[in-house]
Amino acid sequence: KALIKVTPLRQEPTGKPITLEGVFAGVRGQAEGRLMQSHPLSLCNTSEDERQDSVFISIVKLESPERQVPQCLSLLEKARLAVKRGAKAVIFDVTDDAGAAVELREALLASGDYLLVVLVQAKDAEVLMGLVNRNEEATVRIEVMVEPPRWPHYD
């Protein structure tokens, strides 16, 4: 699992970060950067979304397959393109596209790429996309969640 710590920039310096959960689609690791939305169509070869100066983490809201949004590239290729443009990690909101999680896991496993891709959904995704919708700048820190040790059962 991934731990996602979100610190809105306009928050009081003493304020605690918002802690959310996600799932690593491929390799697990750590990354930090400004939250930056990427429109699904901006991750196509034809568009040249300019490289960002700052250190950032892309978030992509995937639409439901029924909406038939032009795909242009596979999700793995989209993740690669986002990283090529400078993203430290890519967060996919898969709330409306459960199949995307399977596609990404399989593709990342097969490719062996070292790409930090995190899947979020439901409440956790809503918080992140809420910040995006309100255009609230925030820093996001992705960490590997350390599961508490399960004590062996003593008779």
Binding site: L35, S47, D49, E50, E63, V69, N135
Partner: protein, 110 residues
């Protein structure tokens, strides 16, 4: 009724991504506004962008030519930055040999 997050001319609208698909003939521009990036539909692309028509989607792409402010296509600049002169779709600090400025313009002609 078009949801608030989409401009007129949008055929497929998303609460978070703005427009996903524009009506025929319109161009989709992926507009970056701080951390947000939403799709908007335009009849023509704004300054600094050129339109690319495709069967499935018409899109505004950013001009990528050096020192260029506005362009007609990927490789043809129509307006150079201040103090530079246009020649065959490129921008130069001065007109190449054998070419000179056309009166009152920033265009080099032979």
């Amino acid at each position: 009724e078009v949801p608030p997050s989409c401009t007129r001319g949008c055929e497929l609208c998303s609460e978070y991504n703005g427009c996903l698909k524009c009506m025929p003939k319109l161009f989709i521009l992926l507009e970056r506004n701080d951390i947000r990036q939403i799709g908007v539909c335009l009849a023509s692309c704004p300054v600094g962008y050129f339109g690319v028509r495709n069967p499935d989607m018409n899109k505004c792409n950013k001009c990528r030519i050096e020192n260029c402010e506005d362009c007609f296509s990927r490789n043809f600049c129509t307006k150079c930055k201040e103090g530079l002169y246009a020649h065959k779709g490129r921008c130069y600090p001065s007109c190449p040999d054998g070419f000179s400025l056309t009166n009152g313009t920033t265009e080099c002609t032979s």
